[in-house]
């Protein structure tokens, strides 16, 4: 195989997984950079951006001072990039592709070529998204939610956003079908559904969410594209007057239709972001507590229930659009019911620690930190899921704090945990523990420094997406000074990622060499060589136990791999 077929247009799930992961990491850092620029504007509104302000050009930041249009572009693209090009490619494309076939004892994904196409769709979507910054009028600037009519009448960047989204959605659809078929068809002999590692379950449910939730958004994206390019009015009502000019459209459309279609995707999407992360955390906790996951079966049932419920809560994002009592009661109730499987999942992970023999290595630290951080994110969802408190908290920084706790110190910590955990499998070398801890502790502190004050700002009523951080309003006067602390924490968080970057590249070349199973783990991926060759396993895999047979009484070793018979 030539270089191109082996490393670029590869059909090996591991190479594609690494392609996804590296792409995801690059986009995560890109989305992070956009956010750091925004944080300057929030902390020091109207002051020239130091160092790089003059490079941004007169259409974005004349004299280094950021224009509100550019701020809105950064906001919309930060959200889009982080969700669709950062976390999803890394969590689903990266870990899913690399780990899932290994964990089920398969030689590859069911459709290797489809897998390759799925990655390249993502790549094209990413290039379109990044390129849109250089269009006249800049990138999309109507929020990652792209609410119509604002998005319908926005500059060209929005058209690019829609084209980009269509590629990203197509990528996810192809990927999700592949995961579903692979999980159902390619499990090793003896690997029944209730012997699957929890990570596989999480990816499996996630794939159904992607498969069922994304098509409505793809359709909605095409409709908005038609509104922008073909003169239709799917989301434009009659009688719009923009900047004193009557908008020459046929009208008769509904702006709320977009919101329903968007959130019908975007709420399940939240679970696409969180479930794979939970899967990773569950693997690492089982491994480093040296005992089976507590309540594995209830966790599996919970994750399935969560998947179903995530389709019937979407309108809790829309309480303030003028919802009646019946509808709001329905969506509040489903949202509250949602908290039950969520609490079960978190409880099982917490209780798994009881009676353990906990090893505090870097992956475990990130996985453990996930629990309380995700807990804060989940708990702060309660007041937002009830329509009455939502009157005060809707669209404030409280919401921003809530979902960032879920996705940043939640999901992203889990993803870091996964990188430290599976790095030895991918490279045959281990990452440095010292640099790992130097990465973990400052990240934990700075993450909270960025997001905790958002709740205080949210209580005070500061709206999100304000290009000056709220200083226009006197009711926000007491809490806008917090913006500086949050911004400095964000920049500190950037510095805290340096040990990770150094560690990543250094360990690839000169990390400590390890064997096939450095963590003494039970799941099947550790039975393959590190790194696994094309085709994965050098032995026949027949599974005879559940996924987490740690510290089984009567066994000499404290771990019993899934494919090895127990000692009599």
């Amino acid at each position: 195989m030539g270089f191109w077929r082996k490393y670029v247009f590869s059909i090996d799930h591991k190479v594609i997984g690494i392609q996804y992961a590296v792409t995801g990491l690059l986009f995560l850092s890109c989305g992070f950079c956009l956010m750091m620029l925004m944080r300057w504007q929030l902390a020091y509104p109207g002051q020239p951006i130091p160092f790089i302000g003059s490079w941004l050009g007169d259409t974005r930041a004349p004299g280094g001072i950021m224009l509100p249009d550019f701020y809105n572009q950064l906001g919309a693209m930060h959200g889009t990039i982080m969700v669709f090009l950062g976390v999803v490619p890394l969590a689903v494309g990266g870990f899913g592709n690399f780990v899932l076939p290994l964990q089920i004892g398969a030689v590859d994904m069911a459709f290797p070529k489809l897998n390759m196409i799925s990655y390249w769709c993502l790549f094209v979507g990413g290039v379109i998204m990044l390129g849109s910054f250089f269009l006249p009028g800049g990138a999309a600037q109507s929020g990652w939610t792209s609410y119509a009519p604002l998005a319908d009448i926005a500059p060209t960047g929005q058209t690019a956003w829609l084209f980009g989204m269509i590629f990203l959605i197509t990528s996810s659809l192809l990927g999700s079908m592949n995961f579903i078929v692979t999980t159902i068809q390619l499990r090793a002999k003896g690997l029944t559904f209730f012997r699957l590692p929890f990570f596989v379950w999480a990816q499996f449910v996630t794939s159904f969410l992607l498969l069922l939730a994304f098509p409505p958004l793809e359709a909605a994206g095409v409709l908005q594209l038609m509104d922008r390019l073909a003169g239709t009015s799917f989301f434009l009502p009659t009688g719009l007057v923009v900047s004193g000019e009557i908008l020459q459209v046929s009208g008769g459309g509904s702006p709320l239709l977009w919101q329903h279609l968007f959130w019908f995707l975007a709420h399940p999407e939240v679970y696409v972001l969180i479930l794979p992360a939970m899967g990773i955390v569950a693997e690492i906790i089982a491994n480093n507590t040296r005992k089976p996951l507590w309540g594995y079966r209830s966790m599996v049932y919970s994750v399935i229930v969560l998947g179903f419920l995530s389709f019937v809560v979407w309108a809790h994002h829309m309480f303030i659009t003028g919802m009646g009592t019946v509808m709001s009661s329905f969506f509040q109730t489903t949202t509250m019911i949602m908290s039950i499987p969520s609490v079960i999942l978190l409880s099982c992970l917490f209780i798994s620690l009881y009676g353990a023999s906990i090893r505090f290595n870097t992956p475990m630290l990130f996985a453990l930190a996930f629990l309380p951080m995700f807990g804060i994110g989940g708990l702060t969802g309660l007041p937002l899921g009830l329509s009455a408190p939502d009157i005060a908290l809707h669209d404030t920084y409280y919401v921003i704090g809530h979902f960032h706790y879920i996705v940043a110190p939640g999901t992203i910590f889990a993803l870091f945990a996964g990188i430290y955990y599976w790095f030895p499998k991918a490279t045959g070398r281990r990452m440095s523990e010292f640099l790992g801890k130097l990465h973990f502790w400052p990240s934990l502190i700075f993450m909270n420094g960025v997001f905790m004050p958002m709740f205080i700002q949210g209580f005070a009523g500061v709206s999100r997406r304000l290009a000056d951080g709220g200083v226009t309003y006197s009711f926000a006067g007491n809490v806008t000074p917090l913006n500086r602390m949050m911004s400095w924490s964000a920049w500190g968080l950037a510095l805290a990622q340096l040990p990770f970057i150094i560690n990543f590249f250094m360990s690839m070349r000169s990390g400590v060499k390890v064997g096939n199973n450095p963590w003494h783990a039970t799941t099947l991926e550790w039975q393959a060589p590190s790194p696994p060759p094309h085709g994965n396993f050098t032995q026949d895999i027949v599974v005879s136990h559940g996924p987490y047979e740690y510290s089984v009484p009567g066994q000499k070793e404290d771990f019993l791999p899934q494919n090895q018979p127990a000692e009599a």
């Binding site: 609410y147 604002l150 009592t325 709001s328 039950i340 409880s347 353990a356 009157i391 669209d395 009711f475």
Partner: protein, 266 residues
């Protein structure tokens, strides 16, 4: 936590603040409870102290009961507080005759406040008449509309009387946010959506309470509506009934000064 929220100045604000506090108590109890357990197990079951893990772990059914307790508390909050508060907001709106009725037409980037005038009936709108300088809402200045009063970013309401605000938008989605009144409602083009509330503290009284001569209730936009979304700020003044009438009368005198083209020049 109450003092983290904006000042409360409407009849229903207390109820909303109360449910926020109750939910946060539930959250705090869960977080502190789990947190204490978490710290205990991390210390107690570290490898150094417990070299061999227990295959079974927790045997008690306590967590199941905890789960049930959480569900029950949530149900109580939902049925006892959340749904009734919402029902009051959307179903128990008083009839127009008993309230001060105002219309708000949002636009990039201002709030058009529209009063029906002495006849108590709103005039018609015709988008062909829209002129950003003289008639931003396209009001037909004849018939019912002859005495209508419109202002930009200045809303006045009398204290202790229900106010009904009918909210719409000319262009994109905005969100009409009165933080001190605990009111937030999206302004959606093509729809006219009412909200109602009873302001209970006049601006003057709040100024005395806060010891701040410049204190104002503000109207904020809570939904991204374009590049100047951040500066889409209006003011709400809560008057005594007498002050309110005086203000309306003063605004009405601007109408009789000349034809409508001179309206904004006054």
């Amino acid at each position: 936590m109450m003092n983290l929220l904006p000042d409360a100045a409407s009849a229903h604000a207390g109820g909303i603040d109360q449910i926020i506090v109750i939910v946060h108590w539930l959250m705090a109890i869960l977080f502190v409870g789990w947190g204490a357990f978490f710290i205990y197990v991390l210390v107690r079951f570290r490898q150094g102290r417990n070299p061999r893990a227990d295959y079974v772990g927790v045997k008690s059914k306590l967590s199941t009961w905890l789960e049930v307790a959480v569900a029950v508390v949530e149900a109580v909050i939902l049925i006892g507080f959340a749904v009734p508060i919402w029902a009051e907001r959307v179903d128990q709106r008083p009839p127009d005759e008993e309230a001060t009725v105002v219309r708000v037409v949002a636009q990039q980037f201002a709030w058009n406040i529209w009063y029906p005038g002495a006849d108590g009936v709103f005039g018609d709108q015709d988008i062909m008449l829209v002129d950003e300088e003289t008639n931003p809402i396209g009001l037909v200045r004849s018939g019912n509309g002859a005495d209508d009063i419109t202002t930009i970013n200045q809303m006045h309401l009398p204290v202790d009387k229900p106010a009904i605000v009918r909210i719409s938008s000319k262009d994109v989605i905005h969100s009409f946010n009165l933080p001190q009144m605990r009111i937030k409602q999206d302004a959606i083009p093509g729809l006219q959506i009412p909200v109602w509330f009873v302001p209970t503290v006049t601006t003057a009284e709040m100024r005395t309470r806060k010891g701040d001569e410049d204190y104002n209730y503000e109207i904020a936009c809570a939904q991204l509506c374009g590049n100047s979304h951040y500066s889409m700020r209006g003011f709400l003044t809560i008057d005594t009934p007498q002050e309110y009438q005086e203000w309306l009368d003063l605004e009405a005198t601007y109408l009789s000064g000349g034809d409508e083209d001179d309206f904004w020049a006054e």
